[in-house]
């Protein structure tokens, strides 16, 4: 991305469909599945997440010349964890019920792959404005994705939307289907939406479904993360190649030239 500079507005809108972090890059799956039992929870999680992402992109982009390269990942994690602690306090103070329902998934924003991935792939090598735009775009994409999932699960699972009763469900003979509120429904809805986004990307950007799932140029996207250990495990077992993997890095060959992958294994 640093290779070819794009306009600020491109950075802003790319996160919504084309590079939607949840449905196309498949990052941050854990909170997405766990908290989207209602539209309100999804929206709350999205906003908390966006706040952390914007702030961490700002801080890291501003400090990118100060942080030594060798300790950048611990430095990023510490910055992100501190920001998450701030968000935790804010939620506890102003929306205690949201804090209750999101539970441990607020502190777990720390290990969300999107934030660390954006820090490494974007904020680390771009200016402040572009980093803010990127964070807003990605945050917006993630928030909308969570809202969509939360909305669907709430409408089908409880027959309400943002806690408001939906008459066309409760009176239209369509009974709430309890399973959508359960973990099983979360996986199913997520699967259908990923397939839908595959299809949309296919017809809008004429990208083959396979291409959208194999995005090695996006650090942390599920294909980059899973192929790297897979390939190097095979190489290690055959003994043809000795690969030393330091913490938080995959072999350079596994990533796009110029892009260092930050989320090699799994960072949820």
């Amino acid at each position: 991305m640093a290779k070819n500079k794009k306009s600020l507005s491109y950075e802003l809108i790319k996160g919504i469909v084309k590079e939607n972090p949840l449905f196309v890059l498949v990052l941050g799956t854990c909170p997405a599945l766990a908290v989207t039992t209602s539209a309100f929870n999804g929206l709350g999680m999205g906003i908390a997440f966006t706040f952390v992402l914007i702030m961490s992109n700002v801080v890291i982009s501003a400090l990118r010349k100060v942080i030594p390269d060798s300790v950048r990942i611990p430095a990023y994690i510490t910055i992100i964890a501190s920001l998450v602690t701030i968000v935790e306090f804010l939620l506890k103070a102003y929306t205690p019920e949201l804090d209750q329902s999101l539970g441990i998934f607020i502190p777990l924003i720390t290990v969300n792959c999107i934030i660390l991935g954006r820090a490494e792939a974007f904020a680390n090598r771009n200016g402040l404005m572009a980093s803010i735009m990127d964070a807003i775009g990605m945050g917006l994409g993630f928030t909308l994705a969570l809202l969509l999932m939360g909305g669907l699960r709430e409408v089908f699972g409880f027959g309400t939307f943002f806690g408001i009763n939906m008459p066309w469900i409760s009176e239209g003979g369509l009974r709430p289907i309890g399973i959508f509120a359960l973990p099983a429904g979360g996986f199913a809805i997520y699967g259908v939406l990923v397939a839908l986004f595959n299809k949309m990307n296919h017809s809008w950007y004429s990208r083959k479904p396979d291409d959208t799932m194999d995005r090695r140029n996006y650090p942390g996207s599920i294909s980059a993360r899973t192929d790297a250990p897979f390939v190097s495990a095979e190489a290690a077992s055959t003994g043809t190649e000795s690969i030393a993997i330091s913490k938080g890095s995959v072999p350079e060959s596994m990533t796009e030239p110029g892009e260092r992958s930050i989320c090699p294994g799994e960072r949820d």
Binding site: V26, T29, C30, P31, L33, A34, P74, I77, T78, A81, V84, T85, E88, F89, G103, I104, P107, L108, T110, V111, C113, I179, L182, P183, A184, G185, G186, F187, A188, Y190, G191, V192, V194, A195, L196, N198, K199, H202, P209, D210, M213, I222, R225, T226, P229, F230, A233, A236, S237, I243, I245, S246, K247, G248, C263, P264, G265, E266, R267, D268
Partner: protein
């Protein structure tokens, strides 16, 4: 004693780490393509989970909590986990080469697996005693392993089946995970009756 086993089994079967708490979903979806990788990851998760529980528990209860710094748990825990993984890697490589081979490259990758931090936070939240916290971590690791192994079988079957173009790959894996998750729902209630 009964308490311990109740926690152990309910964490494995009912509150399964992957299928009902949604922790470690990324590695679950990513690494279940073949048995060898999922085995390495599972061993590494169980091991790191146990050791970092043993380290973070005293840190929280003897250091953070008495000085009123409980809110620093996220920052401290993630740094402790990262350090633990580094130390463990060095020790295991020297002392237990077979175990190191089994975990292979998965040990360093585990630092930011949200399953580890998640379980540490759950242990504190539930105010478990030290032994129960260890049991809950062991159960979480075993539950993760169980889910991984079950899912490897499911995915191997799926590789050869005819799936619509858009559903190929991840979406079909998610649908399968949904069905496996339904199967695990059958366990709820079993534990209550088993230990009552």
């Amino acid at each position: 004693m009964q308490d311990m086993f109740k926690i152990l089994f309910s964490v494995i079967l009912i509150d399964n780490l992957v299928l009902s708490r949604f922790l470690g979903v990324c590695s679950f979806l990513g690494l279940t393509k073949d048995l060898k990788n999922s085995m390495g990851m599972s061993v590494a998760v169980i091991f790191v989970m146990l050791v970092s529980t043993a380290v973070t528990y005293p840190i929280y209860y003897y250091l953070l909590d008495p000085s009123g710094l409980g809110y620093l748990q996220t920052v401290i825990f993630i740094l402790v986990i990262a350090a633990t993984v580094q130390v463990l890697e060095a020790i295991i490589r020297k002392a237990m080469p077979p175990l190191y081979d089994a975990m292979g490259i998965f040990l360093p990758l585990i630092t930011t697996n949200c399953a580890i931090l998640g379980v540490m936070l759950i242990n504190i939240q539930e105010t478990y005693s030290f032994v129960n916290a260890i049991m809950s971590s062991l159960g979480a690791g075993l539950g993760y392993t169980l889910a991984m192994f079950l899912f490897v079988g499911v995915r191997e079957k799926m590789e050869t089946s005819d799936i619509p173009e858009s559903f190929k790959g991840l979406p079909s894996a998610l649908m399968a995970a949904s069905i496996v998750s339904v199967a695990f729902m059958g366990f709820s209630g079993v534990i209550e009756n088993l230990f009552s």
